[in-house]
Symmetry: C2
Subunit: 251 residues, 2 copies
């Protein structure tokens, strides 16, 4: 069973098959491997089947800003395809499985299959909405609340993708990554996590995150899931598509 094609499983049969049929064979990325680099001419649109990746930008002085953590069902590169080049890089944080639709096939699908086009634009727009929320998070919230917000988001997205069920799940994001995502230093992230633990909100150890008080964590993180636009029918995480080898990273 494959982790999920996210919303793309909800497409009408014909278009769903067209979409899945357009994908090249699934491809496995090693942890730390780059899938695309900022400035690259995008050669295709990639859908994440399994694993956790990060979008990022490199700045002068070696700083890095993580822009998001794509997981199963998320798309990599549609914007790059349509604007001509990638505005950010993408790297696997865990072993990951992805499948790519070549540039031409993808543009054809978007032009001729309205439901596919709609599903893709939805993903793109939700990504933009998430970027807005992250900007607000990094710009306005103190470290403690900022980290809580990130954890809330990932929990909800993991559940929506069918990766996590319940308050205990694999957390493949290092404190260094959390620092780069939130604009904090990794030392400070570590201290904030200890505080969240002392406050009985979460524990995070050995790659496993446990949420002890979901309501309080959301309150602290000032989190409401509206910006994720998950409000369509439930059940879109049950995958029915093509079988592929899965890398193991989750619990």
């Amino acid at each position: 069973m494959t982790r999920g094609y996210g919303r793309f499983n909800l497409l009408p049969d014909e278009e769903r098959q067209a979409f899945f049929g357009a994908m090249r064979p699934a491809q496995v990325l090693q942890s730390g491997e780059d899938l695309a680099m900022e400035g690259d001419r995008a050669t295709g649109c990639t859908i994440v089947l399994d694993g956790v990746l990060c979008r990022y930008k490199l700045l002068s002085e070696g700083k890095r800003q993580i822009l998001g953590f794509p997981i199963a069902g998320d798309l990599i590169g549609p914007a790059g395809l349509m604007l001509g080049r990638m505005d950010h890089s993408v790297r696997a944080l865990t072993p990951a499985t992805v499948a790519t639709i070549p540039r031409h096939t993808f543009l054809d699908l978007v032009a001729t299959q309205p439901h596919i086009a709609q599903a893709i634009w939805r993903e793109v727009l939700v990504d933009a909405s998430i970027a807005h929320e992250w900007l607000a998070n990094v710009g306005q919230r103190p470290a403690y609340h900022r980290i809580a917000h990130l954890i809330c988001e990932m929990r909800v997205r993991f559940e929506a993708a069918g990766i996590a069920t319940g308050p205990r799940f694999a957390w493949p994001i290092t404190q260094g990554h959390m620092a780069e995502a939130t604009g904090l230093s990794s030392v400070h992230v570590n201290r904030v996590l200890q505080q969240l633990r002392a406050d009985r909100l979460i524990t995070l150890a050995l790659g496993v995150l446990t949420i002890h008080d979901w309501a309080a964590l959301q309150r602290v993180g000032d989190f409401t899931p509206d910006y994720l636009f998950l409000n369509s029918r439930a059940g879109d995480a049950q995958a029915t598509g093509a079988v592929c080898e899965l890398t193991r990273w989750s619990l």
Copy 2:
């Protein structure tokens, strides 16, 4: 003469007329007036004809994060239309002129006019790219560099929109707005601006910004305009469309 429809002037004649013809009569916003609120069901897609607006999110504790400064040629609300509700609010910072295409007409245009659809998606994707750059700016750069970056971006966008020519132009963004855009306090913005002035990079007074050393300012701001995706044909700022009353806010 109208300030500009941005890239929409580049559409083939037939589609350009369809696009302009779909707009309701231009509408004037007062400074400080809200055009849309987060959570609103979007009723149309609005194109900015003149003036400067801001997209923003309100957070708990009364904090506000500004997500961008739409100017002539920019679109408000296409994402809101397609996702069902706005993920952020939009407010005029200066008197502004805008024109709206009603929901149904807009969706029809997108579905039936490929060049219009392409132009709109381009705008949407560039907005997302800008949000990514802002996230990196706010997350990683110190205040001094962060403000420099914002000034560089606005200068380039003002020029591309035909609003500014040369290094001296109207700057309707208060220090309070700059603070909310960059995640700094307005007091600190003020001190950074004084430092930029002491360093002979800019002067900003009475709503007029002068850039004294563009090369140095870009260096300080770690600014390259790639993420704005302005690389298509020049001359798209010459407006030829319908005439409308213009509010005066620029030099």
